[in-house]
């Protein structure tokens, strides 16, 4: 079955919408969110046909008092569906992130592969994050995993850069860039540059 590849770009939180990937389709979604919303957003992503594939990258840049509250459900409704979700968040100021990512694989989703990765950098004392990556698995012949981490910029990496002449701000910026660019690696160059400019403009560290 030839894979039909499609791409979807969300440039802010209000553009977020439910998705459904059909049999044999491959959908790639990239969302870059730099402005929060005061209310909770709910996203339902269905892998509705055999061998449907979803690759989703969500990037949150929190500044000032922005608030991000997202509940996302990834439903593997059919055989051999694949989901690969990466969430990267960098929270400055007094921003905070509330993320619930639920991967559901019912009996119909045998042979599915699911991976949910959620990484958060807290850049200031008041920044906060609450992440709940959850799994509800009934089909047994599956590979499902998730991972989450929350922390600040690694001290050792900062030391490495500072001892090579970078000042603190630049070192921090370099590490944040590396953290975020990793999620955009697979995109084509033009798109990556366009998205990156948007992200870069929002980073309060220059």
């Amino acid at each position: 079955m030839t894979q039909v590849k499609q791409q979807l770009i969300w440039k802010n939180f209000s553009e977020l919408a439910d998705i459904s990937v059909q049999a044999g389709e491959e959908l790639e979604v990239v969302g870059v969110f730099t402005e929060g919303l005061p209310t909770k957003k709910k996203l339902v992503a269905k892998l509705a046909g055999k061998e449907a594939k979803l690759k989703m990258t969500l990037i949150f840049i929190g500044t000032e008092k922005n608030h991000f509250d997202l509940e996302a459900v990834f439903d593997h409704e059919d055989l051999a569906t694949v989901s690969d979700i990466t969430v990267k968040a960098v929270m400055f100021g007094e921003s905070n992130l509330n993320f619930l990512g639920n991967v559901v694989i019912p009996e119909a989703g045998q042979k599915s592969v699911a991976s949910l990765r959620c990484q958060t950098l807290l850049m200031s004392h008041q920044a906060q994050a609450k992440t709940i990556p959850s799994l509800e698995i009934i089909a047994n012949d599956v590979k499902a995993g998730h991972a989450a981490s929350i922390g600040r910029v690694d001290d050792e990496l900062m030391f490495y850069l500072e001892t090579r002449g970078f000042d603190k701000n630049i070192a921090e910026r370099l590490l944040v860039e590396g953290f975020l660019l990793e999620a955009l690696d697979d995109l084509d160059e033009n798109l990556r540059e366009e998205l990156w400019k948007n992200i870069f403009d929002q980073l309060p560290i220059k």
Binding site: L122, Q128, D141, A148, I150, R152
Partner: protein, 483 residues
């Protein structure tokens, strides 16, 4: 010839090992049958103020404990049921006996014990004296001398190890200072219930810098009710001390009571270390809703080891509050959910002080339509700098109609922290099965080996006898798991 038990008249099934096909007993719970009862004075079913007063009177408690019980009853009635976890709709609070003296407990005839239980005892190598006790046939051990000697050794070191009922009377100062401070009555509905009707449990006090090498077990409490339904345990480890307490056993434990709601409070003072291991294998009629919490001061370590094998529904989240700098929490858990079972277990760690660390390692197995869920919380408060926490959850689904869930929450309010979580869900690796089978193991043997290897990192922290029993028990559960 099967023996008929007809004292209760009416619908009694003839009991014999050969005719007892447990899987056909759709209405009965796993070890189900009726007993012959010779009623003595016994508090009736249902929960009301009279029941609570009677419990307190029978135990001859101080006035302040009675007041606390009555207040808890009010709180229990006011609080709503939890809005998460398993299905608790089957609990009928008015159909439960809230207090039974051991001598009042309905005793079974050994001949009535289902063949499957007797076989399990054989396979696990349970000593003769213990079998009757575990099967609900005997009220307490016949052989008490061994345990009496142990008692004297502990007393010489200043260690207090008593049933909670007796300890309340002998050492009221500990209770006045600590009872209900780690798990207050208002904490949740079932903590309130326990505070109102608690009976039994262990009280342990370890003096400063005393280290107890031998794991203390509930068996050692002389004349104590084994695994009461509303046990209240309080453990106080003074500065620099250490102790390992073991609760429960791997052998299937019959209970006529369908609701078990224990409360365990542990205080780990500066530099102390407490390990609390639980192995629970209640019969499949039991709702096991437990609140367990420890508070760690500076440089103290709390280690929860939680094995959940039985019960219809278990909701249990051993917690550690890290209140002093450098305190550590380690929580290991194994959950097995078989037919008709839901294990909703997990762990909670609250980091409220700097340089505290926590590790949570949870393994679960689901089979025959069972459901095992991990529900956890890692919380870091502002100002708790330098925290490191790691949570690893692995689940094995042993067939295509069982279920595994993971609901971990990370609530981090301090940027100077490093928090990581990972989880995997899968079935037994076909490569590993093939490897073993091509070396002569049957598919069943291979699966059992792999499952034992899966839970091994946690089992090996148990005292040896328990570890051996656990391995044998898992092997038995794995029979019929494949093919």
């Amino acid at each position: 010839m099967p023996k008929k038990n007809s004292t209760n008249g009416g619908a009694k099934k003839p009991v014999s090992g050969l005719s007892m096909k447990l899987s056909n007993q759709l209405d009965d719970y796993k070890y189900g049958f009726k007993t012959e009862s010779t009623p003595k004075f016994k508090i009736g079913k249902g929960l009301n103020e009279d029941v609570v007063r009677e419990i307190s009177a029978q135990k001859d408690e101080p006035e302040w404990m009675l007041k606390k019980r009555l207040e808890a009853l009010k709180i229990f009635r006011a609080k709503p049921m939890p809005n998460f976890g398993g299905d608790m709709s089957g609990i009928d609070f008015e159909a439960i006996h809230y207090y039974l003296k051991p001598s009042d407990k309905e005793m079974r005839d050994w001949n009535d014990v289902p063949e499957e239980i007797k076989k399990t005892f054989d396979r696990l190598g349970i000593p003769e004296a213990e079998r009757k006790y575990l099967a609900g046939v005997g009220a307490q051990f016949e052989s008490e001398m061994v345990y009496h000697n142990l008692h004297e050794t502990l007393a010489a070191q200043g260690v207090i190890f008593e049933g909670t009922d007796a300890a309340l009377k002998k050492y009221p100062e500990f209770f006045e200072e600590y009872f209900g401070t780690i798990i207050p009555t208002l904490d949740n509905k079932f903590a309130a219930l326990n505070t109102a009707v608690w009976s039994g449990g262990s009280f342990i006090y370890i003096p400063k810098n005393v280290h107890i090498e031998l794991p203390l077990q509930a068996y050692f409490r002389i004349n104590a009710e084994f695994m009461g339904q509303f046990e209240r345990t309080l453990i106080i480890a003074d500065e620099g001390s250490s102790v390992h307490y073991v609760e429960g056993c791997t052998a299937p434990t019959y209970s006529s009571n369908s609701l078990h709601s224990a409360v365990v409070e542990i205080i780990c003072k500066k530099g102390s270390r407490v390990q609390y291991s639980t192995i629970q294998n209640w019969s499949n009629n039991v709702y096991n809703l437990v609140t367990k919490r420890a508070r760690c001061e500076e440089d103290a370590t709390m280690f929860w080891l939680d094995c959940n094998l039985g019960s219809k529904l278990t909701m249990k989240y051993p917690s550690v509050y890290l209140m002093g700098r450098g305190a550590k929490a380690e929580i290991l858990s194994v959950a097995y959910a078989g037919k008709g079972q839901h294990q909703d277990a997990g762990a909670k760690v609250i980091h409220a002080a700097p340089d505290t660390t926590s590790t949570i390692n949870a393994k679960s197995l689901s089979k025959d339509g069972g459901r095992s869920s991990y529900r956890g919380l890692v919380q870091v408060y502002p100002g708790a700098t330098g925290v490191k926490s790691r949570v690893v959850c692995d689940a094995l689904l042993l067939d295509d109609h069982s279920r595994s869930d993971t609901y971990p929450t990370m609530d981090i309010r301090e940027s100077d922290s490093a928090i990581a979580h990972e989880a995997t869900v899968s079935k037994i690796s076909e490569d590993q099965l093939f490897y073993l089978m091509s070396r002569g193991f049957s598919e069943q043997e291979a699966a059992a080996l792999i499952v034992n290897g899966f839970i091994d990192p946690i089992i090996k922290t148990l005292p040896m006898e328990y570890a051996l029993e656990m391995n044998r028990l898992i092997e038995m559960e794995m029979e019929g798991a494949v093919g």
